[in-house]
C-alpha cells in the first residue's frame, strides 16, 4: 500500500491529482488523505482527515509514503523506517503561506529513506525507484546528544 498524505492544515490538490493520474500504472493500492482539497480522486481510496493513531498505523504499514514536505510526516516515517517521497508545497501556487517546505527539502535531500520530487515527472520516477528498492533500507533518525544535554542543562540552570 502507498499512503499519500498532505497534512492537517491545507489542501494540496497538485499532489493528489498527480497521484491519481499515476495510480492506474502503479499496480498497488493507494490510500490518500486529501484534507481540504477540492479534487475528487478516481483511482485511489480517499480520506479527508485521519486521526493520529490511524495515521501512525498507515505510515507503519505502508510500503511507501508520498507526502507534502511536512516535518511531522517525515519524522513519523523515519520512526517506522518507511521510505518517503516528499513533494514540497509552493507559496507561489497558493499551497502554503511561505516556501519553508522548499527549504526543508533542500536540507533533507539525500538522507536515508527520503527522496525529494519537485515536479510530476520527478514524482513518478521517485515512486517507481523507491518501490523497486523496497524492502526497507532506511535508518531511523537519532536525536543529537548535545541538544538533549543543552535542554537538560537549561531546565536545571536557566542557561544554555
Amino acid at each position: 500500500m502507498i499512503f499519500v498524505t498532505i497534512g492537517m492544515q491545507l489542501g494540496f490538490d497538485r499532489l493528489i491529482e498527480a497521484m491519481d493520474r499515476l495510480a492506474p500504472d502503479l499496480n498497488i493500492p493507494i490510500t490518500a488523505q486529501i484534507g481540504k482539497g477540492i479534487y475528487q480522486p478516481q483511482n485511489m481510496s480517499v480520506r479527508r482527515n485521519i486521526a493520529p493513531g490511524e495515521f501512525e498505523d498507515l505510515v507503519q504499514y505502508a510500503q511507501l509514503v508520498v507526502s507534502h514536505a511536512g516535518i511531522g510526516t517525515v519524522l513519523t516515517a523515519q520512526r517506522f523506517q518507511t521510505p518517503i517521497v516528499l513533494f514540497p508545497r509552493r507559496a507561489e501556487l497558493g499551497e502554503h503561506r511561505n516556501d519553508h517546505q522548499l527549504a526543508t527539502v533542500r536540507q533533507l535531500r539525500g538522507r536515508d529513506g527520503i527522496t525529494v520530487a519537485e515536479t510530476e515527472t520527478d514524482l513518478t520516477k521517485a515512486i517507481i525507484k523507491t518501490l523497486a528498492i523496497s524492502p526497507r533500507e532506511t535508518k531511523s533518525s537519532s536525536v543529537s546528544l548535545s541538544l538533549l544535554k543543552t535542554i537538560a542543562n537549561f531546565i536545571e540552570t536557566g542557561r544554555v
Binding site: P52, T104, R106, Q107, K149
Partner: protein
C-alpha cells in the same frame, strides 16, 4: 526537580518535542498540545489541550492566548519549553511574564530562517535554539544540535 511545561502543536512540532523527552523525564513535566490523541499515542496521560491557531488568524489566536493565560497561571511552571508553533509561543510569553525560565526550540522544518513564532519567541524567551548551524548567530539563536 523543576516544574516544566513542555508545549507543542500536534503534528511535526509535537513529534519533535517527543524526541526530546529524555531531557524532560527527570522533571515534573506537564505536556501541552493541540490534540489530545497526539499525546495519548506517545503514552502521555493528562496532557492539556490548547486550541490550535496561527498568528495570521487574530480571532483564533486571541482565543488561544486567553486559554494559555489560564493554563500557565494554573500550573505556575519553573520552566517553559516549546518547539512551536503559535500556542507554544503564547506559553513562552505568559511563562516569561510570571517569571518562568523560557526556552524556544525552533522547528527543524525552518531551515532557511526562523519561523514567525520563532522570531517573536527569540525576542521574549530567555534562550532560543535553532536546529540549523547556519541560522545560529551572536546575537541570535544558538545551535546545539538537531533531532534529525
Amino acid at each position: 526537580m523543576k516544574k516544566v511545561l513542555a508545549v507543542a502543536s500536534a503534528g511535526g512540532h509535537w513529534e519533535q518535542l517527543m524526541m526530546l523527552r529524555p531531557a524532560f523525564d527527570p522533571h515534573d513535566t506537564h505536556y501541552v498540545t493541540t490534540l489530545l490523541e497526539s499525546a495519548e499515542l506517545h503514552g502521555i496521560q493528562g496532557a492539556s489541550v490548547l486550541p490550535d491557531c496561527n498568528l495570521n488568524e487574530p480571532v483564533r489566536a486571541a482565543h488561544c492566548l486567553l486559554s494559555t493565560i489560564r493554563l500557565v497561571i494554573r500550573h505556575r511552571p519553573d520552566v517553559v519549553i516549546s518547539t512551536g508553533a503559535a500556542p507554544g509561543f503564547f506559553c513562552i510569553l505568559i511563562g516569561r511574564m510570571i517569571g518562568a525560565k523560557t526556552l524556544w526550540i525552533d522547528s527543524v522544518a525552518n531551515a532557511e530562517k526562523l519561523s514567525l513564532s520563532g522570531r517573536l519567541a527569540a525576542r521574549v524567551s530567555d534562550q532560543c535554539l535553532t536546529q540549523w548551524k547556519h541560522l545560529a548567530g551572536d546575537p541570535g539563536p544558538v545551535f546545539a544540535g538537531s533531532i534529525l
